[in-house]
Symmetry: D2
Subunit: 133 residues, 4 copies
């Protein structure tokens, strides 16, 4: 499990003063990119770390409590499942001050060969990174 | 079921030239707002139509095929389920030229009394609008 | 001069219920893309119309009055100046109901040869399109 | 002058792999909010630091060189001018590795009394914060 601060932006907040529903998926994405870039850097080659050979196939979220302007947020990302061609991440977004749960969700990724344009088995280096996460 | 064109923006597309994962939830949101504003206008009062007394509690999506720059998109929104305090919308985003499925998903909404700050039964006028949709 | 409706999104509005400052530049961009795609289609080849060989070099805006949720907006785009390698667009965003001015601005574009990776003179077909706009 | 890292997001990059034009204004906004929140906290009361009594009246930018995926960015913000009712910030966005200039711009702010709904002289505490920045 990894935990990162969320760099919220003023424009993330909607007219109710809450983080907009769609923006949480950008937070998930940032955590995913950070996890792949910072943590897997030892096992994957550099280019794959920045632009990994995966496709996001599914995403889901439960909004538990609103995040208001000025509240510091953190996001936890962990590997929920690893299969042959895909894997899933679980996310928890919390208030950094008291761990109040704001939202939690999941994304399913498929390893994808962008040159052959088709799914592929998870490369061993990526699998090692996921298992160590 | 209602169907709207999707007003895509150049900034919706990511470095792969595909609509970014998180942006689809903005498309869902726009369809939801249009459905409530344009369709329910007869049964709900004007203020509720623009800023309806609901909270989005859950959202999920399956990404079926990428949407590329220049491809015209349309979104279908329909009511999937109506319960006492909540209801769910189903969405399908398609290529407007051949109905190729790009993504489909669902959001769960809860009727919410913003003054009392708690969930409430779906108001009769909103229920009528949902049933007619 | 061309005039388009602005397809606002709920997430465009910030915690004050106004369109966020940065979002106006996305409205400028959409108007620019629409102008190039719909209007110049006769004089430019199709690929250039969707992804024109230009770089935006400068942008500026004056915020005149706030745009609130529910207010219908329209945007006017016109050619302000054409030089050898560059040209500028002028934009006016107005309330569609009474033409109240919300914001006005300008962007400067440079014709750019993406293969040679350097600015180039404006292609004749693009110049013709700009002069007819 | 203050300098902050820019927390870029994957969705900030457009189909050319460059930070989208409009997104730079969100970077300006984040720097502005950080400057007001972190730096002026001594002289302004807490509420004003989070949601300061100002309106952005103008903004402009020059795009000098593109920012590509994986390039770490930093932003400098400084006070360019202080007048009776308004002041302007100057911004420089650079590659954190070699200070290559990516973009520079300016925003003009007006002190605004949100209750009286009109511009006001810059409050002394805010003026002190600006002069010390």
């Amino acid at each position: 499990m990894l935990r990162f601060p969320v760099a919220t932006r003023y424009s993330d907040y909607d007219a109710k003063g809450h983080v907009n529903n769609a923006v949480y998926f950008s937070y998930f994405e940032s955590a995913r990119v950070s996890a792949l870039a910072e943590h897997f850097i030892r096992t994957m080659d550099m280019r794959d770390a920045v632009d990994p050979p995966i496709i996001v196939a599914e995403a889901r979220i439960k909004y538990v409590s609103p995040a208001r302007i000025g509240e510091p947020l953190e996001i936890e990302i962990s590997v929920a499942e690893i299969r042959t061609k895909g894997f899933s991440f679980h996310y928890r977004i919390v208030d950094a001050r008291d761990d109040r749960l704001v939202a939690e969700g999941e994304t399913v990724q498929v390893a994808y060969d962008y040159e052959a344009k088709r799914p592929m088995p998870i490369p061993p280096s990526m699998r090692a990174g996921l298992e160590a996460m």
